[in-house]
């Protein structure tokens, strides 16, 4: 209690930055600002309608407000499960501040590696889970809602409507994180997170005579660069477990296989498209050149990430998160980030990304302390919270509020990565948004084995002979499985058809937002 009093005066002496953030948050909360950046947000004055919560405690960018919730007064333990990664220090700081503000509440933050997080679903179904769960931990939202595993936030969060409205558009979508009008997730990271950037060892590529910093490599240059690096004693390209799907899908989609694996305009798989087959040809040509690092087949991405700074391989296609990992762990590693190669110069098509997949949190329906979750979500799911996330993590991973991404002064390559992220990624349509019954198909849908990654790696290792036939086979099996899943959903009462996978008005160059669904 004493602590609270000590801290209250502190809130009066706000730093310039926190004032700025507060203004931004308040303005956003009132829904007056679009996604035009912090400067715009800072200029607008706080709307009187915005709830002004009394500040309980402030620690750096972390702020604990009194939201007027009735929090438990006896000693309780609240458990928050999460993935690992750059977010961890943010949550630790938030929880430390919260526990200082409310000493009777202990928050146990449980950050699990991917292998363990997949098991969270087992706990949820056996009726015993953490109070907060990360969204991508093997728990399917439509199923979790139907089974009553996760709770809607509408009645839990303080001033829920304003909290929700503050988010950028297309964050909450029916069939993804909104069901029957109720909202089930507290998004923290953006859906648009680039998973297929080209990372390169600046020195090795410079020695080979290439610099993709400003203009992406063409396929020919990409192959030639890899070959030259290899001739000079190192290896041109590295990828965990074989080239895998990222190599082929990324190159094919940038070359014009819209939607990557699935064309949302025609509703057909792209596996037999010219772009996919050409990307496979390129892969095999580079393999003939000897440009892939030997032994990469038995490596994981973790291994690759740790080995790349040693300079034995020049290029690697992976996600935007690598920027901050290397900058923090390997400050001496001189690497660059660029768009994946394009077939010929200037011709780069956007990459599609599913909506509503940004990392978010669910509230476990069996939680005894939903008010604690509400108090934490209210901050995590706000511009202020996003700013704190970015400031504490110092990572480029795009937060859900675009303004927050401009707060942290990233390195040049970090800025470049964000620039490519924003330039290249476009939200694709999702059948579940259009027709809720499509979620039943998703739950019926079984993995196709061998999948694209298996087939590509099989072609690479020589275990799959005829690429064209293998891709045709993959196309056929994928079609059969989608049709089978649709039929199974129909048999159990869903009103859904393959037409729900066809979006005639899809333009790969534009975000497929809610208005587009209405045009259909």
């Amino acid at each position: 209690m004493d602590r609270k009093q000590n801290h209250t005066p502190k809130s009066a002496t706000m730093t310039r930055r926190s004032a700025l953030q507060l203004a931004g948050a308040a303005a956003l909360a009132a829904g007056t600002v679009s996604t035009t950046g912090l400067s715009a947000a800072a200029q607008s004055t706080p709307s009187p309608a915005a709830p002004a919560y009394p500040l309980v405690l402030e620690q750096g960018p972390i702020k604990i407000y009194d939201y007027g919730l009735t929090l438990p007064t006896d000693d309780v333990t609240f458990r928050w499960a999460d993935h690992q990664g750059v977010r961890v220090p943010f949550h630790e700081a938030l929880h430390a501040a919260f526990m200082e503000a409310y000493p009777n509440i202990t928050i146990e933050y449980d950050s699990l590696g991917q292998d363990l997080a997949e098991l969270l679903a087992v706990g949820v179904q056996s009726g015993d889970a953490h109070d907060v769960l990360p969204s991508n931990a093997g728990i399917l939202a439509p199923q979790a809602v139907r089974e009553g595993w996760i709770a809607p936030l509408d009645d839990v969060l303080p001033n829920f409507e304003q909290w929700k409205a503050a988010y950028p558009p297309n964050t909450f979508l029916p069939g993804i994180n909104v069901f029957d009008g109720k909202t089930y997730s507290c998004p923290m990271y953006a859906s648009k997170l680039h998973r297929n950037l080209l990372f390169y060892n600046t020195g090795l590529l410079r020695d080979a005579g290439y610099d993709p910093a400003t203009t992406p490599l063409t396929w020919d240059d990409f192959r030639a660069a890899a070959r030259t690096v290899t001739e000079q004693g190192n290896y041109g390209f590295i990828s965990a477990g074989g080239p895998g799907s990222s190599f082929v899908v990324t190159l094919a989609e940038i070359a014009g296989a819209h939607g990557g694996e699935f064309n949302w305009q025609t509703g057909e798989f792209n596996y037999t498209s010219d772009q996919f087959l050409a990307a496979i040809d390129l892969m095999m040509a580079m393999n003939d050149d000897g440009s892939f690092l030997p032994g990469m087949a038995s490596m994981t991405d973790t291994d690759v990430r740790a080995r790349l700074p040693q300079g034995r391989a020049a290029m690697y296609i992976s996600g935007i998160w690598n920027v901050s990992i290397w900058e923090q762990a390997e400050p001496g590693f001189d690497f660059g980030v660029a768009s994946a190669p394009v077939p010929t110069s200037g011709e780069a098509f956007p990459l599609s990304i599913a909506p509503g997949i940004g990392e978010a949190y669910y509230l476990y329906a069996g939680s005894d302390y939903k008010e604690i979750a509400a108090a934490l979500f209210a901050f995590v799911g706000s511009l202020e919270g996003n700013v704190a996330l970015k400031e504490i993590s110092k990572a480029v991973n795009p937060a859900v509020f675009p303004e927050a991404n401009e707060i942290v002064d990233h390195s040049e390559r970090g800025k470049r990565a964000i620039e490519i992220n924003d330039q290249q990624l476009r939200l694709r349509p999702a059948p579940a948004v259009r027709n809720l019954d499509a979620t039943q198909v998703e739950m019926e849908r079984r993995p196709v084995t061998p999948n694209l990654m298996d087939v590509v790696n099989g072609i690479f290792s020589g275990q799959v002979g005829d690429p064209r036939a293998a891709m045709q086979d993959l196309q056929d099996r994928s079609n059969q499985e989608l049709d089978r899943a649709i039929q199974a959903a129909v048999d159990s009462g869903a009103q859904v058809s393959r037409d729900d996978w066809v979006f005639s008005n899809w333009d790969p160059a534009e975000d497929y937002d809610l208005e587009k669904y209405e045009e259909l």
Binding site: P294, M443, D454, N457
Partner: protein, 327 residues
Amino acid sequence: MSIGTADRAQSLVRAGSPPSGKSLWQRMWSVRWCYLFMLPSLILTVAFTLYPTVMSWYFSLLDWSGFGSDRDWAGFANYREVVRDDLFWNAYVRSFLFTLAGAPIKIGLALVVALVLNDASLRFRSFYRTLFFLPVVTSSAIIGIVMTFIFSPLDGPVNMVLLQLGFIDIPVDFLGDPDTALWTVVAVYIWKWFGVTMIYWLAALQVVPRELYEAARIDGANRWNMHRSITLPLIVPFALVIVLITVVSALNIFGLVQTMTGGGPFFATEVMELYIYRNAFGAGEVPRLGYASAAAVFFGITVFAVSLLQGWGLKKANTARAQMKTQ
């Protein structure tokens, strides 16, 4: 066949219950304490082994992801799908290949090392036994990463040695090449679990009276003849048990393969447990517990058949030995 029938009959007599001439109930009542004292073990077996197993048979008849209440009765559909899946048979064959290659070498090598480490004249035997046992307790995750260095085609020591000895001209990607990956994993498996088999052999060798060796030595027998004529016949019954345990554990190999290759390249090292795991818990994909259970049950039945065959062999061997003794 029962255990030491004569002994048991004696015990029963002493317990005041002649084995015949009474009703089943009377006979059961007279040995009621046997049932009581078996209870803890039976409860643990039934609750944590039999019940989950029977449940998995039931799951194998469902179309169920393993999560949620959406459990549809599927009859034998899962089984029909299992036997039609090429990848199932791929894993099936690999499991048996793995076992056929791994078990005999492991059992044989472990016997040789056990014979050496059983020699009373060898000093520091306990020390060596511990060293050979160390891989058993080394963590699988760490082994996974060490082995990628050891078998690396870039600068791994195995390739270095083979290149220098002239066995190969270019480095081999042991874990990445479909022709070598399975055998590399088999080699690591033998190394990792060697210690357990060695301990079993050492135990078996304790039954060979030391003075038999002394006598043979006085007779001028060399080491090989000594083992062939004295050791091997005495440890045959053990051998069959060790083979059984080793074969069953090899057929169920999982963790080591998962950390080393994850089943790749292109399913070249996907043994049965990996296939089951991929379908039951496969990361990032919709799991199919019902289907995975069907694959597991089907595989389990065939393993059972193999074991029955082995047991039959064991019985034959015992009978043969018994006949030899009576002659």
